[in-house]
Symmetry: D2
Subunit: 347 residues, 4 copies
Amino acid sequence: MSETMKRWQLPSFGLKNLELAEAPLPTLASNEVLVRVAAVSLNYRDKLVVEGELLPDRPTMPFVPVSDMAGEVAATGADVSRFKVGDRVLGNFWTQWIDGEPPRGMARHGLSLGGPLPGALAEFVTLHEGVAVKAPASLTDEEASTLPVAALTAWSALIETGRLKAGQTVLVQGTGGVALFGLQFAQAFGARVIVTSRSAEKLERAKALGAFGVIDTRAKPDWSASALDLTDGHGIDHVLELVGGDNISRSAAALASGGRIAQIGFMKGSEIVLSAVPMMLKRAIIQGISVGHRRAFEDMNRAIDEHGIKPVIDKVYAFEDVRAAFDHLERGPFGKVVVRFKSEVGS
Amino acid sequence: MSETMKRWQLPSFGLKNLELAEAPLPTLASNEVLVRVAAVSLNYRDKLVVEGELLPDRPTMPFVPVSDMAGEVAATGADVSRFKVGDRVLGNFWTQWIDGEPPRGMARHGLSLGGPLPGALAEFVTLHEGVAVKAPASLTDEEASTLPVAALTAWSALIETGRLKAGQTVLVQGTGGVALFGLQFAQAFGARVIVTSRSAEKLERAKALGAFGVIDTRAKPDWSASALDLTDGHGIDHVLELVGGDNISRSAAALASGGRIAQIGFMKGSEIVLSAVPMMLKRAIIQGISVGHRRAFEDMNRAIDEHGIKPVIDKVYAFEDVRAAFDHLERGPFGKVVVRFKSEVGS
Amino acid sequence: MSETMKRWQLPSFGLKNLELAEAPLPTLASNEVLVRVAAVSLNYRDKLVVEGELLPDRPTMPFVPVSDMAGEVAATGADVSRFKVGDRVLGNFWTQWIDGEPPRGMARHGLSLGGPLPGALAEFVTLHEGVAVKAPASLTDEEASTLPVAALTAWSALIETGRLKAGQTVLVQGTGGVALFGLQFAQAFGARVIVTSRSAEKLERAKALGAFGVIDTRAKPDWSASALDLTDGHGIDHVLELVGGDNISRSAAALASGGRIAQIGFMKGSEIVLSAVPMMLKRAIIQGISVGHRRAFEDMNRAIDEHGIKPVIDKVYAFEDVRAAFDHLERGPFGKVVVRFKSEVGS
Amino acid sequence: MSETMKRWQLPSFGLKNLELAEAPLPTLASNEVLVRVAAVSLNYRDKLVVEGELLPDRPTMPFVPVSDMAGEVAATGADVSRFKVGDRVLGNFWTQWIDGEPPRGMARHGLSLGGPLPGALAEFVTLHEGVAVKAPASLTDEEASTLPVAALTAWSALIETGRLKAGQTVLVQGTGGVALFGLQFAQAFGARVIVTSRSAEKLERAKALGAFGVIDTRAKPDWSASALDLTDGHGIDHVLELVGGDNISRSAAALASGGRIAQIGFMKGSEIVLSAVPMMLKRAIIQGISVGHRRAFEDMNRAIDEHGIKPVIDKVYAFEDVRAAFDHLERGPFGKVVVRFKSEVGS
């Protein structure tokens, strides 16, 4: 192992400032693993962090962004017992959240990977062994790198908190990473999925992935009626709310009795607006989702192996082309955007 | 038993049209019990029904309003096995909802007592035996009459769906029936309760009932900061949202991580407006509540007996003074308003 | 519709007394549906009922046995709203159990189809509309007839009470109806299944159905070590205990931490014997299972449609050959034994 | 702080070998707190550890026994953030179990305080900050020292896994620490409690603590009939099984439909023996309990403060009289046996 490594870092916020630099290998504490990063995937959150729009407190600069990565354990601290050299691992976004309830205060001062904690856009990173989880054996490194934020968010919404049952109907908004993981998990668990999008072409691709129904929201901006039609008036059991703004009022209108809305995204605005009376009559639940805990992550990885779920990757970029990858993110990918570190690593 | 009875009926909507009339005793089907009503309690819903503001389809007129009653079984149909003459019973508001999930379609076409189904403002009513539950032995008829809507709503919010734990903090808004039942249940289960009100005098009475903290929202319209202060910054675990409008944004701001808002009332407006990001970071839940099922009703009644909980009755009116009772309701009672049918019945 | 029908009836207990008879059509109450039976499936319980070994109180004779049936609604009572003529329906074994907790006393005086209530071995039966559920559209009548007892038992054990998660490991004992439904449900939900049997040939058939592992308990009577080996020492998350006697001590030894044993069958003896200390250290759960409620039945039927699960039928007998079907049951079928009523009905 | 401290240690197993010794203060790691122990309480497990009957692998000798302690933080490591000097703390028995599911392998190689990890019979101990929890403010040190094993076991059985509801009936066996905590928690949550014992005098004391019913099992060895009588035939909702052997078959016979047995103790034998059929008809649950996780511990402490629950201490011994305290344990105390370290500490 050489003494230095390459990494993408921000001397100050702004995508234009993102620079490729040489840096010393991180030092390894006794309870940490050193991970040789094979691939990272980008989330919209990374974009906000890079642009300086998310973190309330400025992290130490230069800052290495990006939350998601997959890699191989290259070395282990003296007290590490959960992993050994050669294991393929991912990092759990909320580093303090193991199972059940997170530590008090995590909502305000959460120590999450990729901001405020350093991210994974580097050849090597260190992780407390308690933060790492095994990558699913059935996935390539590139595929596995897409899981920590987007997949775990969809899993937490539908499975861990939503307790999705076979035969239910799920609606996902758009065709980004969380939406498509929601589609895949729901289908694997025997649910029918409806996808909304403003792009007819993306809806075709969603159908090819097995969507039970699709709604073109450019053609039908008041899409809740279409959703009710597609379910014979019964309504949707689980909505992944990924649009935000007044869109959630349509999600509520499309809901079945006892249905749930997982509040995840807010592209169109961060104010939730909806009517109280139908919510009460339907005994509807709106639940805020914030990625998930390590136990759910491990549950999800087993399910991915068992069901043979393959993450949908829109495009893989080379390590040098990180800026192009961020640009792709901005245009709205179909599934995930990945950056591969070395040609010989991964699939 | 005489062949006729007195009842209050609406030949057409409007409180001013409410008239005392003589009517034949209701006929008893084989699976029904005939109940001699001892007391009824009023809910704001009854007011809306009487004024013609609630039921989408006009019921058969003359219509007998009021959902809540306590009475004694005076006769039983041939197939009745759950009750015998002399049992003290209450009626379950949602007549079709026994346990678990309600029948599909209940949200839109629910058969609830006091509209669209006939109500209890009559000396005798019939109930399908599956709709009746035993009154708690430790309560008088007047006290028991307050339970079906207000108490079961608070119970469903905090216990049945909210799974309240001892040591948590609950906030109830105002001092109406649901709020005070919420206060009493929460305290009996080992939770601390904060009460908000625009009336300093009512807050004093809430303190006398054991409230851990009170917030005068006339003095502090942005009351969420006070709620955070009262909980050392931790926030509220369960909010009973009884005000509505933009008040729920303050409820959300006052919430602890993993906290829940039970959406119940909407005095100030039926639009829910709040911010998505704190909801997500706190993994907050908003759940619409609509009274509850029979099994929860029976659970609650056992708990009331066991904990010795006594409903807070603001005033008891005589059968003849029903209109005055409705006027009291309009003024905002402290707890419940009850109408007693006969002086010799009940306590 | 003719005025009479054929049925198999018991003038007194004993399979040899089972006789084919002509009987009047049952009369239809206002809340009942009349069902033209298309197929029934046999459960071991039917055998015990026929032999007079199960029902504590002798039912009215002649008695029509058999719990499971699938058929078509031929007529509806005046008050029926859940079904219409032509609907394909099944009957819920525990007629009083809709959702959540069953009525108190059901354990002692349960009104179950096929004893003490009349069964389905007749061309027509009546069902209270609340007892009927829609048959899955994707199944033939013969397939659908296998669901009410065996499939719902497996579903209640694994899904409704067991909350099976993808990636877990399930062990089912033997290859009867409950075991194979357990295998199919678990696989559809992303679990790995291990099957035990004393027959190498049946284990081959289980493998063909997708079993992850098989254990020949004739070769390895102390099979728990094999189960631990097959799970890399982790153990089994859910055991369907279908053998009974001291076999459950092996089930407990094979269990993972936090694992569950669903107590369902007791071919080898009805005494449960096992060690307390490993149960405590593993925080193991043993739960008695007794078929299930109507809401779970409806959930299951949606899941069967959605996942395309096809019940495993060992053999279909003609209506005239009911006694041969009971004999087959005695020999231990691979999956279910079905009796078809008319050649033109069903598939 | 002096450089040395006193501690009771075992150079080899056997109560007679327990010796008072001078030892250096433990060194403090960066994530640990140094705790000045104020009081310990004894559990029967400590007795087994001291006698060498419990730990499969011999710990390093001399070994300091005893799992339960309450004390004050005397110093904190550099990285400690959860506690500060002066905080009153307790230690969580299962040091690796924070919330939800414990780490895989804990059942076989669990790192529990008081064996295999060093125990608390020393003037100072160190705890990883993640293992410590705040003592309830409303308890003295002596009272607080009784919580970690006995109270958390009862809490895990009834509240965390049992989800006890007000109005239910609980049966506890005997009057040891777990039984009396079970009594107190259940009563605080609105349940009625029945206590069994072979001592009429202890049953009187249980009545004085509020027991709803008592059963003298010396007079009525087949006590399940008495339990059914006391519940009008309904049966027990939660049994804390603390006796073991064939006693659990009586627990099962006394159970209500849907009831639970928490398997905790096995004084009379470690083989569980009971009948399958009633378990199935009642849909009974037997769950092995093994103390509990830190989050439940913290929940419990809040509940203790909120409900004002005071642990029942049979006798407090001085630090010098540890052997007498162990002898008392052998005789079957009423509640807990405590050892106080200094006269000036605690209440």
